[in-house]
């Protein structure tokens, strides 16, 4: 007994060293060496300790991959912990040691047959995590078994494994029919299996936009709803997110789903709650508004949203971003809950700012007094950013709730009296906005504002003050003195202030011409002669000319009545809002951007729209069913940037070999079809100079040319020429050295590019220049606060240019343009700044050409010819993406020597070859060749084989990659191969 106690004591001392931190101690001899010895020890215990040490090193990022064979040797063991540890190790390092990883396969396969379901599941789970192609091959059989395992735990693990495998090798998963098995699992008897199957399918569907993976019908929906009640919280999230994609057939189905989803609002997991809110918000659209249930539902939505706000700050933040959307769509839900958005002084700043935003959205005549009192309180807080936003919020309240304007102004005046510098400046900025909304109403405060003239040191505040003085010059006795005082340091001012000062003085002059002649001359000369700023100079000249030629017209222009500023300028545009409502709870909802704007995660995300109830939607089609709710008709759907992007992305995923139905080609359709879509382009082939199209060969399964009839390049096997395949670009980088890993997607844009060229080829052979695709709308006005950009790319005398038309559809002048590209596949970058010298006034459009260089940073894009562009102006920064025709990257020196061509052609590996067919090109080979030369596609050789002209062509890309092509022209057959 005594002995035992002693030993216990010893062990207790030892205990302090018994934590895992001991695994980190290193010895002098060399850690790896020592671990190796221990791993090969005969003693089980020692082995386990050694593996633990290895794992410990791995967790802190040390490289212990050298121990791979030794660790794998420990895998065959009865000890589950040891097995798990080895598996952990394997997952981390298998990728770097693929050959060694094969050694582990047998054990995996054996474990998949183990009696213990835990081990079966563990094996299939781990195998799926090993991202090595050779291993995945062996995975298929065990996985198939596990998907049908009798134990649901194994089935649910196997379901996830399909998603893993799809991530590694999508084709394999499809070929093996795992997707169908997965779909079957949706009807599994165990809710956990259903949830995991749904999760796996959703993940796979994300990379598979067009597949009907989650084919939702009333039966599956019913199964999902049943599983929803019984599965884990995480499973509920997956199922709810999946349900949200369903479109109910009618309002009754909608209601029944809503009824079954509502209990989820009481779940402790906030993610479940928010996903349930999403489903309800979406399906509510289907319900007639006069239904009792509709009102009940509205009432039920408020409490869970409020509860989210008492959670941890990071949860609050996500909740608030979503609530921001919800209150824009359905303000009635939270209209009585204003108080929960009141800010606590120790909220993190990101929560404070969001709360403030929602407070303004909820502000109404009923609660404005409370809101104002709060905002005034916030304006005395410590955090400068927050205080500024609070002051700005007061201004927004004034603009939003007309009845409160007076109170807001007096609150702002109170705040100005505090003389806290940044408060005063911010207040002046918002008072300017209030003047713009309610002109000639609050001019009495101008005197107070003028007292603070000297303390203004921020450009925005100075500009605002100058605007006020200029606008109300006739009522301010010493307006000229005030403005003159600003003029002294004219050149030190920021552009914003300079422009405002110029305009203000011109206004003053037009109002009081007699006293201010000198002043206006002074400012005009400062602006036009002494300034380097083109905006300022131009504006100066315009005023000068106006004033000198026709003062009456000048008065009309400068003192024109301004449109009132809109009630709320920061509302999310309705179509976007509808889409975002369908994405409540996702990242898109946090960023208030459509999912397609997320470059990485958006591969082919389908656009979701709210479907409204039959009574309110599509008022054109269903006037008979129309209820009183016709006014609720959804706004006209204008293809947003997102849609466009979606289209482009979709088309990229359409493999070029697809036998897409060529649309009936109509002459002059070019202008309509703007995308590179294969089918669409085919249709372009019929064009105005040709008689209406010859019978289109819609499904040419066989090329007229059987394989192996082209003897000269013997290695070249023209492979199955099925479908409407056009062109045959094959690639070889350098001379014969095939590029190591040529991106597979390269073919798609090339085919697009070639199609474009041939499109021109059909154009009657009139112009000899480079092919210029028609301008496309890149950035619709709705997405960019009124700025619309359309453009195209062109190669002119060796210089790539981006030609744009900028159209100002907003109410205000746009200036200060700048442009930037994201990294892209060919390193395209602006070679100079965007040359837009004059501000674009409303409804004006301007042409701009931007020379591009190809020396920018390179990053592979998807699709390859995708270009992401950011355009900045005085309003905001806007992002869009567009695709450039690959042809503009073809260099003038792309003509290859014949010998070199032949050699290179032979060396092209098969996997770098691809084939296309171009239809209805009514040119003979010579004309085509000339045409193509205009676009730097050079014909190296021409042969005639059995009545077909074979053109061998080369082109060189700006990054030095050569593209070789063989073009077959069959006389009398308008198809080029």
């Amino acid at each position: 007994m005594q002995e035992w106690a002693n030993q216990l004591c010893e062990n207790r001392q030892f205990g302090s060293k018994m934590t895992d931190s001991k695994y980190f101690t290193t010895t002098k001899k060399g850690e790896i060496f020592e671990l190796k010895a221990e791993l090969n020890s005969d003693k089980k215990e020692k082995k386990k300790e050694a593996v633990k040490k290895v794992i410990a090193s791995m967790t802190v990022g040390k490289d212990v991959s050298a121990l791979f064979p030794d660790v794998v040797n420990c895998m065959q063991t009865d000890n589950l912990e040891l097995k798990k540890l080895v598996y952990l190790y394997l997952m981390n390092y298998a990728k770097s040691q693929p050959d060694m990883a094969i050694m582990a396969v047998n054990t995996f396969v054996k474990d998949c047959e183990d009696l213990n379901p835990l081990i079966r599941a563990l094996a299939v789970r781990t195998m799926g995590c090993i991202r090595v192609d050779k291993i995945t091959e062996y995975l298929c059989e065990p996985l198939r078994k596990c998907l049908k395992d009798e134990d649901p735990y194994v089935r649910k693990t196997a379901a996830v494994c399909v998603a893993k495998l799809h991530d590694i090798n999508a084709q394999l998963v499809e070929d093996q029919g795992f997707l169908d098995t997965l779909k079957d699992l949706i009807s599994d008897s165990n809710p956990m299996v259903v949830a995991n199957a749904v999760a796996a399918l959703s993940e796979i569907a994300e990379s598979h936009p067009n597949s009907n993976l989650l084919d939702l019908n009333p039966q599956t929906i019913n199964k999902l709803l049943t599983a929803l009640n019984e599965c884990t919280e995480w499973g509920q999230i997956f199922i709810l997110d999946c349900l949200a994609n369903y479109s109910p057939r009618d309002d009754r189905e909608s209601q029944s789903i809503c009824e079954r989803v509502t209990p989820r609002l009481s779940h402790a997991n906030s993610a479940v709650v928010l996903s349930a809110v999403k489903v309800l918000m979406k399906f509510m659209e289907m319900l007639p508004k006069d239904l009792d249930y509709y009102g009940t539902l509205l009432k039920k939505l408020a409490p869970p949203l409020v509860t989210l706000l008492s959670a941890e700050p990071e949860l609050q933040y996500v909740a608030l971003r979503n609530i921001n959307l919800i209150v824009q769509r359905r303000p009635e839900i939270l209209k009585h809950e204003m108080k929960v958005f009141f800010v606590k002084y120790n909220d993190p700043i990101y929560v404070k700012l969001e709360k403030l935003d929602i407070m303004i959205r909820l502000a109404s005549q009923a609660n404005i007094a409370q809101v104002l009192a709060e905002l005034k309180e916030y304006a005395t807080e410590v955090d400068v950013d927050f205080v500024r936003k609070a002051v700005r919020a007061i201004g927004r309240c004034a603009i939003k709730v007309e009845q409160s304007a007076e109170r807001c102004v007096s609150t702002l005046l109170d705040l100005i009296q505090t003389k806290v510098n940044y408060v005063v400046q911010e207040a002046i900025v918002v008072i300017k906005d209030i003047f713009r909304k309610y002109p000639n109403k609050y001019e009495s405060v101008i005197a107070t504002l003028c007292e603070h003239l000297e303390s203004l040191d921020e450009p925005e505040a100075r500009a605002a003050m100058i605007w006020i003085v200029g606008e109300y010059a006739e009522r301010i006795d010493n307006a000229d003195e005030l403005l003159e005082s600003f003029l002294e340091g004219f050149h030190d001012e920021s552009t914003q202030v300079q422009l405002q000062l110029l305009t203000a003085i011109v206004k003053l002059f037009l109002k009081k011409p007699t006293e201010t002649q000198e002043l206006v001359q002074q400012v005009l000369s400062l602006a036009t002669q002494d300034s380097d700023n083109p905006d300022l100079r131009d504006r100066g000249y315009i005023y000068w000319r106006l004033l000198s030629t026709d003062p009456v017209a000048a008065k009309e222009v400068v003192l024109a009545e301004k449109p009132l500023i809109s009630e709320e300028t920061d509302l999310i545009e309705p179509t976007l809002l509808e889409e975002l409502i369908c994405h409540i709870g996702t990242l898109a909802s946090v960023y208030h951007k459509p999912p397609s704007a997320f470059v990485e995660g958006s591969r082919g995300v389908q656009h979701k729209r709210l479907t409204s109830s039959a009574g309110s939607g599509e008022s054109v089609e269903s006037p008979d069913t129309g209820s009183a709710a016709v006014s609720e008709a959804p706004p006209t759907v204008i293809p947003s940037q997102g849609d466009l992007l979606g289209d482009l992305l979709n088309l990229d995923l359409t493999p070029p070999t697809s036998t897409g139905p060529p649309p009936a080609a109509a002459p002059g359709m070019q202008l309509g079809a703007m995308d590179l879509l294969g089918g669409g382009l085919d249709s372009l082939m019929g064009d105005e100079s040709e008689p209406p199209p010859i019978p289109l060969r819609t499904d040419t399964p066989q090329s007229p040319q059987p394989p192996h009839q082209s003897p000269s390049p013997p290695d070249y096997s023209p492979t199955e020429l099925g479908g409407d395949i056009g062109g045959s670009p094959a690639m070889g980088a350098g001379f014969g050295a095939p590029p190591a890993a040529m991106p597979a997607s390269f073919n798609a844009p090339i085919s697009g590019g070639l199609d474009d060229l041939f499109d021109l080829g059909g154009g009657g052979g009139m112009t000899m220049g480079t092919y210029i695709p028609p301008k496309t709308v890149w950035l619709p006005a709705m997405k960019a606060k009124g700025l619309e950009i359309s453009g195209t790319f062109v190669r002119r005398s060796g210089v790539i240019q981006m030609e744009m038309t900028l159209n100002n559809k907003a109410m205000s002048v746009m200036s200060d343009f700048a442009i930037q590209f994201n990294r892209n596949s060919f390193g395209l970058a602006p070679a100079g700044p965007l040359q837009i010298l004059t501000p674009i006034s409303p409804n004006q459009s301007i042409e701009a050409a931007l020379p591009l260089s190809t020396v920018g940073p390179v990053m592979k894009m998807e699709p390859l010819n995708n270009l992401q562009v950011a355009v900045k102006n005085n309003i905001d920064v806007f992002y869009f993406s567009c695709q450039y025709p690959i042809s503009m990257l073809f260099l003038e020196d792309g003509k290859m020597e014949r010998q070199v061509f032949l050699a290179t052609w032979k060396d092209i590996p098969n996997e770098n070859e691809s084939q296309f067919q171009i239809k209805d090109c009514h040119l003979n080979s010579d004309a085509a060749s000339n045409k193509l030369q205009g676009s730097n596609i050079f014909t190296i050789a021409k042969r005639t084989v059995e009545g077909q002209d074979m053109l061998y062509q080369s082109m060189k890309l700006t990054n030095g990659i050569w593209v070789l092509a063989e073009l077959r022209v069959q006389a009398g057959n308008p198809n080029y191969t």
Binding site: N11, R12, T19, D20, F24, K44, K52, A56, T59, V60, L80, E81, N92, N116, R125, G128, V160, C161, D167, N190, M192, A199, E203, T232, E233, W234, I237, P263, S266, H267, A268, A271, V273, S275, P303, P304, V306, S310, P313, L315, K339, V340, F342, K344, I349, Y350, A373, E374, E377, T380, E381, V382, T418, G585, L587, A588, F598, V599, E600, G601
Partner: protein, 418 residues
């Protein structure tokens, strides 16, 4: 789904990384560090940070940032909830969730993380199930394992994993069968300078500790269930029964769990237990300021207010505070400008007060901001909303359990503006 997890300590070291899919370079955390640098306080780091290829979602707990890396569209709340679960699990296993504890148990941590997530999908997050799969480390068990060479990884599939009641394992046995319920309410309130309530709400929870043999089926009913109109339940609660009868009917998990949390927002139901009389003022042109604070009980329903702690962030210009508490002790941190007054119990006959002067930096102007006062307090034996449990019944098992209900009210975010 969740791609990777990085744990970062307060000095900005990544001390643990775990990848569930391919390995993401830890350089991705640079974006996080950038955001961290921009934030004035550690709490102000935005929870969602976009990077060119990933999104970083982070929570700060116990001065450790848990940063999850995601690559595709994933509900952020899902990630945050999962991170919370990770924190809770660590705390559950190691008693504390500190860098030292995590490093000391790094292998268990790794095993846990591997068990909790598979390819980014949550696998087992219920503490009951995890504990069956991986035994929590205790000194005794570590010793026994060392001596006997046994393992701390469960060899069998956890029973609860797939049953209809995944939260409860079968074959639970106790000699003393007990079920305790704690009704804890926190008052969140903002009181304005004149003493009137701007907002007040109650966040309530019922935490349970149930140690009952077998498969007990419990029902809990309330005297005044109408109070509970905004509730979140543990998954074990049968929602239909609640909807129909306003009775909580459930098969409880084994051990500690949160049965219910609720929210009472209508203001007339929220009693404010204390009032504060305050006078914090600075005079223009003087480097002195007056500080005068008195606390008193308001609506306490006869119970005493205990463990009162008052704290206030004084304006930046304040150099020292020379105060005199009528009871308890106070501290003033000249660096953070945080004034803390540990009051203790409020005696209604002799109201506690803290009076004295503050000195400002010489020549500093009168501070612009008004300090807010934060109050913590406890009231035992009462739920301030008036919620009362009516009865607790057990079905399905034959023995007679020992039952206990405790009530407590605390101040949550209770702020008084001055």
């Amino acid at each position: 789904m969740i791609h990777s997890l990085f744990l970062i300590n307060s000095s900005g070291d990544i001390f643990l990384e775990k990848h569930w899919k391919s390995v993401v370079s830890r350089s991705v955390c640079d974006y996080f560090f950038e955001a961290q640098e921009r934030a004035t306080e550690p709490e102000n780091v935005p929870p969602v940070i976009p990077t060119p290829h990933h999104y970083l979602i982070s929570v700060l707990r116990h001065r450790i940032y848990f940063v999850a890396v995601i690559q595709s569209e994933v509900p952020p709340l899902f990630v945050i909830e999962f991170l919370h679960r990770v924190v809770d699990t660590f705390q559950d296993y190691f008693g504390v969730c500190t860098e030292a504890a995590i490093k000391d148990n790094v292998v268990v941590v790794y095993e846990l993380l591997e068990e909790m997530l598979d390819n980014g999908f949550p696998l087992a997050t219920e503490s009951n199930i995890l504990k069956e799969l991986i035994k929590p480390p205790t000194i005794l068990r570590t010793m026994v394992n060392t001596i006997t060479g046994s393992t701390n990884v469960g060899e069998q599939l956890p029973t609860g994993q797939l049953s209809v009641v995944p939260w409860r394992r079968t074959g639970v046995k106790y000699t003393n069968n007990e079920a305790y319920f704690d009704v804890v309410e926190e008052i969140d309130a903002i009181i304005d300078k004149s003493g009137s309530t701007i907002t007040a709400e109650i966040q309530g929870v019922i935490d349970a500790c149930v140690k009952l043999t077998g498969m007990p089926d419990l029902t809990l009913s309330f005297m005044n269930p109408r109070l509970l109109d905004d509730v979140s339940f543990h998954p074990c609660v049968r929602f239909k029964r609640w909807e129909a009868e306003r009775i909580l009917s459930f098969i409880p998990p084994d051990g500690n769990f949160r049965l219910l949390s609720y929210h009472v927002s209508s203001q007339n139901l929220v009693a404010i237990p204390v009032y504060v009389k305050h006078n914090i003022s600075f005079r223009e042109g003087s480097s002195q300021g007056r500080f005068d604070l008195t606390l008193g009980p308001k609506q306490t329903m006869g119970k005493s207010v205990e463990a009162v702690l008052v704290s206030s962030q004084l304006p930046r210009g304040v150099l020292t505070a020379n105060l005199n508490p009528s009871q308890g002790t106070y501290t003033f941190d000249p660096v953070t400008k945080m004034l803390t007054w540990d009051v203790g119990k409020i005696n209604p006959q002799k109201l506690p007060s803290l009076k004295g002067t503050m000195s400002l930096q010489a020549g500093a102007s009168k501070p612009d901001e008004n300090p807010s006062i934060n109050i913590q307090l406890k009231i035992q034996q009462m739920a301030i909303s008036g919620l009362k449990v009516n009865r607790l019944d057990m079905y399905g098992e034959k023995y007679k359990p020992f039952k206990g209900i405790k009530y407590m009210t605390k101040a949550g975010k209770f702020q008084v503006r001055t």
